[in-house]
Symmetry: C2
Subunit: 432 residues, 2 copies
């Protein structure tokens, strides 16, 4: 896949091409022989039977929740949160938990072809530190809540710590920070107003769970007389900076607000159907000009951080929902998981496609296996087969992160030992 | 997982256990130390950090269609069949095509944990021969059509060749044969009547695409005045022998017929949503006592033969469809993919669970990877994460088929070379 394609255009493929990278940036894309002739002294990686494509962008994750994977399945959202996840978090969460859970999640994302993620969780300082250390591109959304957590006692402290984090990473080439107001039902009007003002002042994005369930919408109408999205609009919290995550409930008025304000959406189909929260009409919104990215959501509600799985879910569910097999075709789905995600995160000038001048965030898919053969269509193979399990190489800003299916910067045995330690610790805490 | 569990009971797990196998049969299941003491001289495979479970049963496949994978996506069923798949089949299909496509598909199934499949395709003699040669358990459904194909000219010839095949495999320990009338819209009343009579006579199953689309049902009502399932019922073609594949359209009367006749269903959720054919209410039918198995369908409409993917799709779509996160829980979904499939195929006395006296059809899942950690719940990990890519060992009737993720009986390089040859041959034929 190469170049910036429009949201409706088919993804393009080139055979027997090569890419030249210098200082992390793509500087040339041409037939293999030409690149080899133009850069005779450059070190190069020869990949036969591979598809090279932009790295995937996982636009919504709670990465450290990998440590809670499989703890509580088959529950609806509010019961899952209130009776299982929040109590477990209250008992276990700490800087170390988030650091180790993030490392585990980044390992999983890298091995399945993701080169950039957007994260919202407690101790975002731990998440940011691990992402930067491992050379992973990320938007770190520091959480804003009214209620206390292990990270902060009240809204004031969330703001203070979040703004300090934002300052710390201001000049990071890999890490952007953004406001992460948890949801309309956990954040007050005054906090939203403060976020709007500060986001403008320090020029950063706003990432918020919005219209995840019908219950959320009904509660808002009961409490405020309007839907959550209408309330956020009244508070000035919707603009092209705003990333609305989930949006499974949308009436005509809500959609008009989305279109009028230029807010983008992040579609998390696998998490939404697992929690039976509903379905975001992502393909329709895309058609109407809304920027759409894809997210796995956290591993406690998905239960995998494999964005290729989410990408396939998005394509299949769009067809099912529209009763139209042509809905959200393979190219459109693939674009959502790459350039679409970059547009939502506001980083499409530097990543999301294989384009000269952009960062070399790329992955290679090995088609030399029974599950990937024959290759009648590379795009079809990437969307509808098991591409994640065929990821052989991953580069971020030109640096190799996965080589021949092995993590380059992460000590796998140490990582798995830590994960087992957390499993035992959590089980002990849960049973006391 | 061990033992025969009822359709509603939770799957059970045992820690630190071992299994003894003799002549392909499970003869003991007990704590590891006890088995090692009881069978001190037996060769054994030590698996730490693994989950051992029954092999998956893919109850509906057109295995050789792997060679058409990705040729035509994003089309509705009838356009996909009439304008893409059938023309391609007419030009390419042969004994060799089916032999090579089946080998490719079996390789993919083994590597993703399937130990038994049910297949309906042309040249079922080729499919049966490859399955038997590779030691794969299978129900081979020889097709019955009225229209000509490369395998047979008319209904008479389909019957003759199918019955000869049935004779040939009568005493095979691995291969069952069954009638495979393609669908109500491609098979005449008289052929169905003949199938009913013969199935009784030679004691075999009937495997038929049924109520795959609303169009199929509407056309039948127009032509026959009744739904396809009502028509098959009138012809006596529904009984516990009958495996109804798809059933995405079911009104109360249709459901009553299903319950009254004891026919089973095979749910193919991934293929159904990809073709936007509709959705089979599999969880409801299960609750009402219908036997339910799972199928991937062919790789031209899925596009993967990974039954773990179908298993997760089934669980997630059931929740979405019922707007209830508790619908089709992990244990129920896992049962559908194992013992449920065996019940549908009528082989639950010999396979489908890890039970003393049954055949040793088992797979091992390696949990020692970032995507599978931590293991709070083995059942959750098998259903909701990427278990297929963690399959390390596969045994069928006690014989090892996959060892440390490598195929034991299949020459991978030769297989992939054949697949590439077919890709080029098909592309050439398609372009002339």
């Amino acid at each position: 896949m190469d170049g910036d394609i429009s949201r409706t255009e088919a993804a393009s493929t080139l055979n027997d091409h090569a890419i030249a990278v210098q200082d992390g940036t793509i500087i040339a894309l041409a037939p293999r022989e030409q690149i080899l002739a133009d850069y005779p002294d450059a070190a190069h990686t020869e990949l036969n039977n591979h598809i090279l494509m932009p790295g995937l962008i996982n636009a919504h994750n709670h990465t450290a929740m990998t440590l809670l994977r499989g703890m509580a399945d088959d529950y609806p959202l509010m019961e899952w949160l209130e009776q299982h996840i929040w109590p477990a978090e209250n008992r276990c969460i700490s800087y170390d938990f988030v650091r180790d859970g993030t490392e585990l999640g980044i390992a999983e994302m890298l091995l399945s072809g993701t080169t950039c993620f957007s994260d919202m969780y407690f101790f975002p300082d731990a998440t940011a530190a691990v992402a930067e250390k491992l050379g992973m591109r990320a938007q770190i959304n520091f959480p804003i809540f009214e209620m206390a957590s292990a990270w902060a006692q009240n809204a004031e402290e969330y703001f203070d710590k979040g703004l300090a984090l934002s300052d710390e990473y201001r000049y990071s080439p890999l890490i952007n920070t953004a406001f992460g107001p948890h949801a309309p039902y956990t954040v007050s009007d005054s906090s939203f107003e403060r976020i709007v003002m500060l986001a403008e002042e320090i020029d950063c994005n706003i990432h918020v769970h919005l219209h995840e369930t019908a219950f959320e919408v009904a509660s808002s109408i009961e409490q405020y007389g309007i839907s959550p999205i209408a309330r956020l609009n009244q508070l000035g919290a919707l603009s092209p900076r705003t990333q609305a995550v989930h949006m499974t409930q949308l009436n005509t008025e809500d959609t008009k607000i989305l279109l009028d304000t230029g807010a983008s959406i992040i579609h998390c189909p696998t998490s939404n159907v697992k929690l039976a929260s509903g379905y975001c009409p992502a393909a329709d919104l895309l058609d109407q000009g809304v920027r759409v990215g894809l997210g796995t959501d956290g591993a406690a509600s998905n239960n995998t951080l494999n964005l290729f799985e989410t990408l396939r879910s998005a394509a299949l569910l769009a067809k099912h929902q529209a009763a139209d097999a042509t809905a959200l075709n393979a190219s459109q789905a693939l674009r959502m998981a790459t350039l679409g995600g970059a547009e939502v995160l506001g980083i499409d000038d530097i990543t999301g496609s294989i384009t000269i001048g952009k960062q070399a965030d790329m992955i290679a898919i090995d088609t030399h296996s029974p599950a990937m053969q024959p290759v009648h269509s590379a795009i079809s193979q990437l969307v509808y087969t098991e591409a994640a399990s065929a990821v052989s190489h991953v580069w971020i800003a030109g640096k190799i992160k996965v080589s021949n299916r092995q993590l380059v910067d992460i000590d796998l045995e140490a990582l798995l030992a830590k994960s087992q330690w957390w499993r035992n610790t959590i089980a002990k805490v849960e049973n006391t």
